[in-house]
């Protein structure tokens, strides 16, 4: 058997297994949603908001499970309470946003952990904390697909308004848009993406899914639409290789995905044609040399 054939087998073998195919599809779906949202989050400077949302969903998920309602709804309500509550507190006192968010989301996470300990349950909730792309239940899968379609649809339909809101909220207000509604929309979309990412990588690593692809793509393009495409591409690469590696090497899928995303960011940081550090240095060096030559000659 040739080397090429061996490579192909390595690649195809996992896909002959049903649960691996499911994991890959779910990973690509979750990754796509997070990548698209990550561009808006990064440009708006809402990384910490994303982090807060990812921790604040925990009590909601436990309570939703107890009440027997879809996990996504519990998570959404819980995260919105945390974020809107933090916003309310911030408006009425002089503590900075990041500090208020910090108090608010750690409070919610602590509440979630207390609830997890109190509720006599199986390993179910460990999936929330660590994420497990390989073990998503059928009912959860259905929720994820619906949520993913809703989020992507909303971003596509509201692309222009969301872009204006992230770029220049004052202009959005001046031309008569409802900026409060846009803020709420972006918050809800962010929360939904967070809930999806939980399934793949768990609470601790969610923020990577919501920040890294956007940052990588930011270094590579100059238009928002292409930035989103680039973010999605880099996430697909990470998910694909993460799922494959975790099959062959037996490591945590979520961890590998995030690790590869970080690696791709590092590559972009170093080698991006215009915003990358190496080419920037070269350009500066060339300019200095040109100046010196001009001065001499």
């Amino acid at each position: 058997m040739s080397a090429l054939n061996e490579m192909l087998t390595l690649f195809v073998l996992p896909l002959t297994l049903d649960f691996m195919r499911q994991a890959l599809w779910m990973g690509l779906l979750v990754g796509t949603v997070c990548a698209v949202l990550s561009c808006l989050i990064v440009l708006k400077g809402w990384s910490l908001v994303g982090d807060a949302a990812s921790h604040a969903v925990v009590p909601g998920i436990v309570l939703a499970w107890l009440a027997g309602i879809p996990m996504v709804i519990g998570a959404l309500v819980s995260a919105l309470c945390c974020l809107l509550g933090a916003g309310l507190i911030e408006r009425h006192c002089r503590i900075r946003t990041d500090a208020v968010l910090g108090i608010s989301f750690t409070g919610f996470l602590a509440l979630g952990m207390v609830l997890v300990a109190m509720v006599p349950s199986d390993v179910h909730f460990m999936h929330i904390l660590l994420g497990n792309l390989l073990g998503i239940e059928a009912s959860t899968r259905y929720q994820l697909v619906v949520t993913g379609i809703v989020v992507l649809g909303a971003v596509i339909l509201k692309f222009s308004d969301l872009r204006l809101y992230c770029f220049d909220p004052q202009q959005a207000q001046v031309v008569g848009l409802n900026t409060r509604r846009l803020q709420l929309l972006l918050t809800v979309l962010l929360t939904l993406a967070t809930v999806m990412a939980l399934q793949a990588v768990g609470v601790v690593l969610v923020i990577a899914m919501l920040v890294t692809p956007g940052c990588t793509a930011f270094l590579l393009t100059r238009r928002l639409a292409s930035m989103m495409m680039m973010a999605v591409t880099s996430t697909w690469l990470s998910v694909l290789s993460g799922v494959m590696l975790s099959f062959h090497v037996d490591v945590e899928t979520g961890g590998v995905i995030v690790l590869i995303q970080a690696f791709l960011f590092l590559l972009a940081f170093l080698f991006a044609p215009e915003r990358g550090v190496i080419f920037q240095k070269i350009r500066v060096w060339r300019a200095i040399r040109a100046d010196r030559e001009a001065a001499q000659g």
Binding site: H92, R94, S160, D161, F167, D168, Q170, Q173, L177, R222
Partner: protein, 269 residues
Amino acid sequence: MSDQYQHDGPAIEVSRTSVRYPDGHLGIQDISLTLPHACVCALIGPNGSGKSTLCKTILGFTRPTSGRVQLMGMTVRQAQKRNLVAYVPQAEEVDWQFPVSVRDVVMMGRQGQMNWLRIPSATDRRHVEAAMTRMEITDLAHKQIGMLSGGQKKRVFLARALAQGSRILVLDEPFTGVDAHTEQGIMALISGLREEGVTVLIVTHALSNVPQYCDHVAMVSRQLIAFGPVATTFTQRHLAATFGDVMADTVLSGVEADLPERTASWSLS
């Protein structure tokens, strides 16, 4: 500009408006001023005098604690929904790294008038092209905004305001960081807009050329120190009351140096 909305009263009417921030800090106190249609008014005052607070209140970014602001006889929000107000922000307030092109930004002036899906109509495109031509940035249309020079950046946001076709235009420090050529261009544009019936309010630090392009001036230091036509209001006494004596002398001597032919129109004691 394009909007056909007619209103006989004043364009901007600020009535007894005060702003106090949540920390108790006073922004502006009991300011009233009325700007007629087709007028160009400079809003001047020292740093921290509340002139940008007044500007933000007129634009609806800050809510007045008391008093009210009316634009074209409507509340600020109503006027904004009808796209009667355009705003050119300070250069420092813009995220120049944001991945949008010059054309994208100019098109944002039309956003409130587009359909639900925000697909630009032929009218929207025409306004955008006309505004870019007028500001001479057509050849920059596909550039990312961070790649432009200071003057070009300014012109992009002026073009965005033009594309909107509003009746009131608020400019926040339009002359900061631009060269003399662009400065002259902006002043010519403002005069042109006045001819078209637009009311222009300019927050500015550049005092010496105020008489060159403004017909009204409002001086603010917490309260309204003076407001009225430039000829009668832009005087040593009022400038001294707003900025202090030394500053007032410097400004007026600068004005004389710049515009010898116009010094006769406002007499200095």
